[in-house]
């Protein structure tokens, strides 16, 4: 039985980045395919007909969709080393809760910063910082959200760091000023090979400017 693995992805996507980090942490060999989202491949449409989105992890020709579901799948299949989720059910539930919070609140408010202007944007910035602050409180004295070790919640959130520069430019503010602890944590994660491999925030910002042009946003 082969162990064929392929990742359909798009390099600036923070959701795709989660899956790249998980695969790197586990040392999984896979083929990486960058999709042109304005011209989606037949393969992507076949592998994710419901949402037609990346990332899609194709393992032995079977597709797994939705970034957090993919990360958990990777953790369950390559279960020998570097567990990402805790084995204790309560800690596992907490990890799931905070990854869900990252999506519902942190990502949502961050995206609102570049999508809005004026009063709406000010509210988005306020919400974003508030949500980040709630999140970093979970660190306590630990180096990672996973405690002593880099885990599921760290994987879920660190990709958003590559977009901080973009949010900062769009909203004219600095995350480090309002929430230094999150930058401290991010810099710690950046020492890992899997996280070092993430796109440069400046490149992400350049992509964002191109995207804005394409979408005709001022």
């Amino acid at each position: 039985m082969g162990n064929k693995a392929m990742l359909l992805d798009f390099w600036p996507s923070p959701f795709g980045m989660r899956t790249r980090i998980a695969l790197a942490e586990k040392g999984v060999k896979y083929e990486y395919k960058d999709e042109d989202l304005s011209n989606k491949s037949e393969l992507l449409l076949a592998m994710n007909p419901v949402h037609k989105k990346i990332p899609v992890f194709v393992h032995n020709n079977k597709p797994v969709c939705e970034s957090l579901i993919i990360v958990e799948y990777i953790d369950e299949v390559w279960s020998k080393d570097k567990p990402l989720l805790p084995s204790d059910p309560y800690l596992k539930a907490q990890a799931r809760f905070w990854a869900d919070f990252a999506d519902k609140k942190v990502y949502e408010s961050g995206a609102r910063i570049w999508k809005t202007k004026g009063e709406e944007q000010e509210k988005a910035k306020k919400d974003f910082i508030e949500n980040l602050t709630i999140l970093v409180q979970q660190l306590g004295d630990n180096p990672y959200f996973g405690g002593d070790t880099f885990g599921y919640v760290d994987v879920a959130i660190i990709p958003f760091y590559t977009w901080f520069y973009t949010f900062e430019m769009a909203g004219n503010f600095k995350v480090e000023e309002s929430c230094p602890k999150v930058i401290e944590w991010a810099k710690r994660c950046l020492q890992r090979e899997s996280v070092k491999a993430l796109p440069d925030p400046i490149k992400v910002y350049d992509f964002f400017l191109e995207l804005k042009k394409m979408l005709g946003i001022e």
Partner: protein, 229 residues
């Protein structure tokens, strides 16, 4: 360790999300204390246990709170490990069940929009809902390749519970708006799925009477519609 474990579930009678947690505990045969929350006057305890979202359901196990219905379902399956199992063992199947459970989110958003809008907006929401249900019907062919099982032998699991919380009382919305949407012609699998689940005693115990659900939908609708001039 001969300590008895304390299991409490903070819920709200009309919440389909709380219903998921209650149904999972019943299916697993877990003894628990149900605490009804008044969502218009939330208890200190609820605010203490779920300060982030301040919502139900919250499961409190030996004093430790777990929030978010899907997180609670996974927790229940992991702690009470005797059968029936809520999720399959195989990682790929688990990912498929989780995928479709996550699909319930855009589905319930569209359902909500259908309930609280009128005129053209409501028609659009209805069309969107029917299309999403087409997608679900298609998807369930892969989940149930041999048709819907009889839940008399295999109790409802994670995906059954999530799905039932959305569609179990579909008759209420159909009565309120005078139009059937879960039709057997268009959704044979979904219809037989709901009907099979309705036969399960634990499911019957958590299902609200249709007139009550109609009143709830009316209440929600009135709160969201613009006041008439």
């Amino acid at each position: 360790m001969g300590e008895e474990s304390s299991v409490k579930l903070h819920g709200f009678w009309a919440s389909p999300y709380a219903m998921r947690a209650v149904l999972a505990l019943k299916v697993k045969g877990v003894e628990f204390e149900y605490i009804e929350e008044d969502l218009f006057n939330k208890s200190e305890l609820l605010l203490k246990y779920n300060p982030v979202h301040k919502k139900v359901p919250v499961l409190v196990h030996n004093g430790k709170p777990i929030a978010e219905s899907l997180v609670i379902l996974e927790y229940i399956d992991q702690v009470w490990t005797d059968p029936p199992h809520l999720l399959p063992k195989d990682p790929y199947l688990r990912s498929k069940h989780r995928f479709w459970a996550a699909f319930s989110i855009p589905l319930s958003e569209t359902m909500m929009r259908y309930v609280v809008t009128e005129g053209e907006e409501q028609m659009n929401a209805q069309n969107e809902l029917l299309e999403k249900m087409d997608v679900l019907e298609q998807g369930m062919k892969e989940i149930f390749p041999n048709g819907i099982p009889s839940f008399q032998e295999d109790k409802p699991g994670y995906l059954d519970i999530v799905f039932y919380s959305l569609f179990g009382t579909h008759e209420a919305a159909e009565e309120l708006f005078g139009e059937k949407f879960l039709t057997v012609e268009r959704y044979p699998l979904l219809v037989s799925w709901v009907n099979a689940l309705k036969e399960v005693p634990e499911v019957q115990q958590v299902t609200l009477p249709i007139p009550k659900v109609v009143k709830t939908l009316q209440f929600i609708r009135q709160r969201h519609l613009p006041p008439k001039a």
